[in-house]
């Protein structure tokens, strides 16, 4: 198992009141599996993704990434795990406006103190070879999201997390992007988790998990 969440609780303190965002959520994702998480707004799916991505630590429970409990690591260690083991794809691509496409990928190598390899191959793989020297504002929405996926894969992470990757795309572009994501996860033998509202892309997922009021309610195999 690449990602295991065991009895995860997340409680936010809002003044005197407590707000339970996740209530005893458990989840397992194995290598090569692409899981979609759905649920209404405020159900806790973004919280779940943030906890799985080591951006947020749970109030209680275990988060095992590649066998290691990341819930108890220091902030510094957690940042390192994100860099080494997790690839993120965000809602609006979130590319850095001042970097050319190739440098969007190079920055990950720089952060990881690894030599910058030729990024042409991976960009060609995503059909972006002609965009290598373009800035994000010169790309289409779909191209930007493909760059974001390529960026998430540069470090060969074990886990890929996507936060509503189709939110800024039209239907056909969205389908294309999720299809690509699913393919990378399945073929690259990575664990993939995607939070989405978009029912049209659920067909690409191996499993669908529904969250309601902080509880994992329904697991569809």
């Amino acid at each position: 198992m690449t990602l295991v969440l065991e009895h995860v609780h997340k409680v936010y303190q809002d003044g005197p009141k407590e707000y339970v965002a996740l209530n005893d959520a458990s989840l397992q994702v194995k290598a090569g599996e692409f899981v979609a998480i759905v649920g209404p707004s405020g159900s806790g799916k973004s919280t779940l993704l943030s906890i799985a991505g080591a951006l947020l630590s749970p109030t209680s429970g275990k988060v095992l990434l590649d066998g290691e409990n990341i819930a108890t690591l220091s902030k510094k260690e957690v940042t390192k795990r994100r860099l080494e083991k997790i690839g993120f794809v965000f809602q609006a691509a979130h590319l850095l406006p001042y970097l050319k496409v190739k440098d969007q990928l190079n920055v990950i190598s720089v952060l990881a103190h690894k030599p910058k390899q030729k990024k042409a191959d991976i960009l060609a793989h995503f059909g972006l070879e002609h965009r290598i020297n373009n800035y994000p504002n010169e790309l289409s929405g779909g191209e930007r999201q493909r760059v974001a996926i390529a960026r998430a894969l540069v470090n060969d992470p074990k886990l890929i997390l996507a936060d509503e990757p189709t939110a800024s795309l039209d239907s056909s572009r969205g389908q294309e992007v999720v299809k690509l994501l699913a393919k990378e996860v399945n073929e690259g033998n990575k664990a993939g988790v995607m939070v989405t509202h978009d029912e049209r892309v659920l067909g690409f997922a191996d499993r669908i998990i529904t969250i309601r009021d902080g509880k994992v309610e329904f697991v569809n195999d």
Binding site: L55, T79, L83
Partner: protein, 345 residues
């Protein structure tokens, strides 16, 4: 570095504009520093360049050379008490005319013993041989004085300029040096090494004696205040700019942190940008200041050299980095969670 440089190049206009502002304030710092240095020399170069370390003054004079009067008899005793070389110094502000003409020239007459250490080097002409011969500062040339000219002081006394020396000014007037054996009283005894004194007399380090020159402290203080304000302005301009930039880039910092960039990397990038900007500004400002300095008329008290520039340049870079501290705090505070929208936190 990777991100810092690429961002500077991408957002050229923004960074060029901010560099322009800091270049202007830094140029002003350099020019005012040059003016302070120039005025200081114009007021006190004869004391700064005096071949002695201490001035023994009358204790009641409170460090002011012009208020100190030592009878020759006492001055001789003081000189005998010293371990190292010592000579008397007498300073008189006077007006002179060239050979009894109409034009009045202000000058400072410095008198000391024959063969003493206080006479400066001759740059042009020869050392005074006769009793009525003097060595004059070369700024007197601008008044039209040449070697061999006669300086008429009052009705009876006149001196002949036998040679010129350089960088000898006192209280914004040129100094004329004379060797004299028949003074009744002097203003100070100039001493090499450490001075030995007793109750009625006090030894003042040469540098402190500058404060005793009329208007010296006031001039320097007002210019230094301008310089300090300019440091503060430069620091604040950069601090405000980078603060706003950091606030604008919150989401970028959030994404970078989510991707695995640590605070150290992001902070060093920010500091790299600030240092680059201030170094470039200092570089251009140096060129501008030397250019402006070259345009000033020759008799303007303005001295700018690398030695004058190094200290303010270092201060500017240091205060710029200090100004970045507020932005650094912002960067550290940004939560990588901000990259994932819709999380209630």
């Amino acid at each position: 570095m990777f991100l810092a440089i690429r961002e500077l190049l991408f957002a050229k206009t923004k960074y060029i504009l901010i560099s322009l502002i800091t270049t202007l304030t830094v140029s002003l710092i350099f020019i005012v520093s040059g003016l302070a240095e120039g005025l200081s020399a114009d007021n006190a170069s004869s004391i700064q360049g005096l071949a002695a370390d201490y001035l023994v003054l009358e204790a009641e004079a409170e460090g002011e050379l012009g208020n100190s009067f030592i009878p020759m008899q006492q001055a001789k005793e003081i000189m005998n008490d010293q371990e190292q070389e010592a000579n008397t110094l007498s300073v008189q502000m006077m007006n002179a005319t060239i050979g009894g003409g109409d034009k009045q020239i202000s000058l400072a007459l410095f008198a000391t013993e024959r063969g003493g250490m206080l006479m400066p080097e001759v740059m042009e002409g020869r050392f005074p041989k006769q009793e009525n011969e003097v060595l004059a500062d070369d700024s007197l040339k601008q008044e039209g004085i040449q070697i061999g000219d006669e300086l008429q002081l009052g009705e009876k006394t006149s001196y002949v300029v036998s040679g010129f020396t350089t960088d000898q000014r006192y209280s914004h007037t040129p100094v004329v040096f004379i060797e004299s054996e028949d003074l009744k009283q002097v203003n100070a005894v100039a001493v090499k090494g450490v001075a030995v004194t007793d109750g009625d007399y006090s030894a003042v380090p040469k540098i402190d004696a500058l404060g005793g020159i009329p208007s010296y402290s006031q001039e320097q203080a007002s210019l230094n205040m301008m310089i300090i304000f300019l440091y503060v302005i430069t620091a604040f301009v950069l601090a405000a700019f980078f603060y706003v930039m950091t606030l604008q880039k919150r989401d970028q910092f959030g994404v970078l942190k989510a991707l695995g960039a640590n605070n150290k990397y992001l902070i060093s990038g920010l500091i790299t940008q600030i240092i680059l900007l201030s170094v470039v500004s200092v570089g251009i400002a140096t060129a501008i200041s030397f250019g402006v300095g070259a345009l000033f008329p020759a008799d303007m008290p303005f001295i700018l050299n690398m030695a004058t520039i190094v200290q303010p340049a270092i201060i500017i870079i240091v205060v710029s980095v200090l100004g970045a501290v507020v932005s650094l705090y912002q960067v550290v505070k940004i939560d990588p969670l901000e990259a994932i929208e819709g999380v209630a936190a």
